[in-house]
């Protein structure tokens, strides 16, 4: 049976690890790009980022003061029996993690400006559940920062503008965003589905670890082309010039309504924090 206390403990630990330890795939990419960089300022910025990753790990400090809003993406089996427990445990764990890690209290009432100090709110934290053919549940925690989130976009293109229009918009937008989302960034693109769906796909695209290939050949080619062109722009780390503007472009798609061509774009900062927790069908937290 599922032990609710143990589950909450593991979720709190997941959030702690999430904001202190950068996933290895991100650190590796940053090191890779540092080797390719030839501008002095760009090298200095990337080195400061790598120093910061080391200090966070050694001293157990949050990587970035913006510990984000906690987003939860759950993939669960159709018959996974503990979804209700999981759903109940998450807000309790968020409240505890805010105090214990600590996380910065980051949820503000848009009307009163009041900060409840616990990272909760109506519909907060955001929990996305997808059911599929499996017997366990995989929970990915994405602490999402505000500076990068502010650079999100939705373009309702005409089908005639299509992919060419999308690529133009993306490149123009990266020039506009410049240093604001804390480059080197990771770009998630969602194509098709409708306005909300495209945005959701764009955010989900960020969950894929860096350096993993898109299994779809046409998407992989498009990701590589866009990444190449974005890094040709010369925005550089922190928008201070250089060859490293993005570490990856990830694309997800679904079919579109014949009259529409929605493209969602979500930006993730270099501090691409993620943590994964699994609960098996017997309720054991792994």
């Amino acid at each position: 049976m599922l032990d609710q206390e143990q589950l909450i403990d593991r979720l709190v630990k997941g959030m702690r690890d999430g904001v202190i330890e950068l996933p290895e795939d991100v650190t590796q990419k940053l090191q890779e790009y540092l080797q390719r960089e030839d501008s002095g300022i760009a090298k200095q910025q990337l080195s400061a980022i790598l120093d910061n990753i080391r200090i966070s790990h050694e001293d157990g400090l949050p990587l970035c003061q913006d510990t984000g809003v906690q987003m939860f993406f759950i993939k669960a089996g159709y018959d996974f029996p503990f979804l209700n427990d999981l759903h109940r445990a998450i807000p309790i764990a968020v409240k505890r993690a805010t105090k214990e890690v600590p996380l910065r209290p980051n949820t503000v009432d848009p009307f009163t400006g009041k900060n409840p100090q616990d990272n909760l709110g109506p519909h907060m934290p955001s929990i996305t559940i997808e059911l599929e053919e499996r017997d366990d549940a995989v929970i990915t925690i994405l602490p999402k920062g505000g500076g990068s989130e502010n650079m999100s976009m939705l373009w309702m293109l005409t089908p005639a503008e299509g992919f060419k229009g999308m690529k133009k918009k993306v490149l123009e937008h990266i020039v506009f965003a410049a240093g604001k989302p804390c480059p080197p960034i990771i770009i998630g693109l969602g194509i098709g589905g409708g306005a909300d769906f495209a945005m959701k796909l764009a955010k989900k695209a960020l969950l894929r670890p860096l350096g993993t290939q898109n299994p779809d050949d046409k998407l992989r080619a498009m990701e590589e082309e866009l990444l190449h062109d974005i890094n040709e722009l010369g925005v550089g780390p922190m928008g201070m010039g250089g060859r490293t503007t993005a570490l990856a472009v990830h694309i997800e798609y679904t079919n579109r309504h014949p009259a529409t061509f929605p493209v969602g774009l979500v930006v993730q900062c270099w501090c691409d924090r993620r943590a994964v927790i699994k609960v098996n069908k017997d309720g054991e937290v792994i």
Partner: protein, 196 residues
């Protein structure tokens, strides 16, 4: 050029700075984001607090009270551009000498920097743990109850806080403008090459 300054920072030290210079700062550094800018402007400052020659840091830190004392846990810069419309009034009211932030600011602030002989410098965005090391001890905090932890005015006694890169100097030069011009040119070139 590398410079080490201690607050209160003098006008002649600021005038000699150029884009690309590296700074390390000791002394009083205070944080203010959007809300704190608006509050400070409305209240015309904090009674008994002398802004002369101090350093303004665009930052909303993670703090924790340990044994009755506030400790800084992570304190990287926030996106400075949100303060673009507020900064000219802020600089007119408070004689600070250095702004620290990330991402740079626009023409309104660039003009105000020139007018008030102030520079804007950049600390690596997201490097919150690294920043916490240099910020040191918390001397005081204002507006904590009203604005909450990220928006409050935290006053630090910094020790060799840096490296900060001067990216907007007091002579009207902006490193961000230069980079932006280059990336806009590159954009045109890519569009041409790709036939967009």
């Amino acid at each position: 050029m590398e410079h080490r300054f201690t607050t209160p920072i003098k006008d002649e030290d600021i005038s000699k700075l150029e884009v690309g210079d590296v700074l390390f700062i000791s002394g009083t550094v205070f944080t203010a984001r959007d809300e704190a800018h608006m509050e400070l402007l409305k209240d015309k400052g904090i009674p008994g607090f002398d802004f002369n020659g101090l350093v303004l840091y665009h930052c909303g830190p993670v703090m924790r009270k340990e044994d009755g004392e506030w400790k800084v846990k992570a304190a990287g810069p926030t996106t400075s551009f949100r303060m673009e419309t507020l900064e000219p009034d802020f600089l007119a009211m408070f004689p600070i000498k250095i702004i620290i932030g990330k991402g740079g600011m626009g023409p309104l602030t660039l003009d105000a920097l020139k007018k008030h002989n102030t520079v804007y410098s950049s600390f690596t965005g997201g490097a919150g743990a690294l920043a916490a090391k240099g910020l040191g001890r918390v001397r005081e905090v204002h507006y904590l109850d009203e604005l909450g932890m990220p928006e409050a005015v935290w006053v630090f006694e910094a020790k060799d806080f840096g490296p900060l890169i001067v990216t907007m100097d007091a002579h009207g030069n902006s490193h961000y403008e230069e980079v932006n011009k280059r990336s806009s040119d590159n954009l045109k070139r890519i569009f041409r090459e790709r036939g967009y």
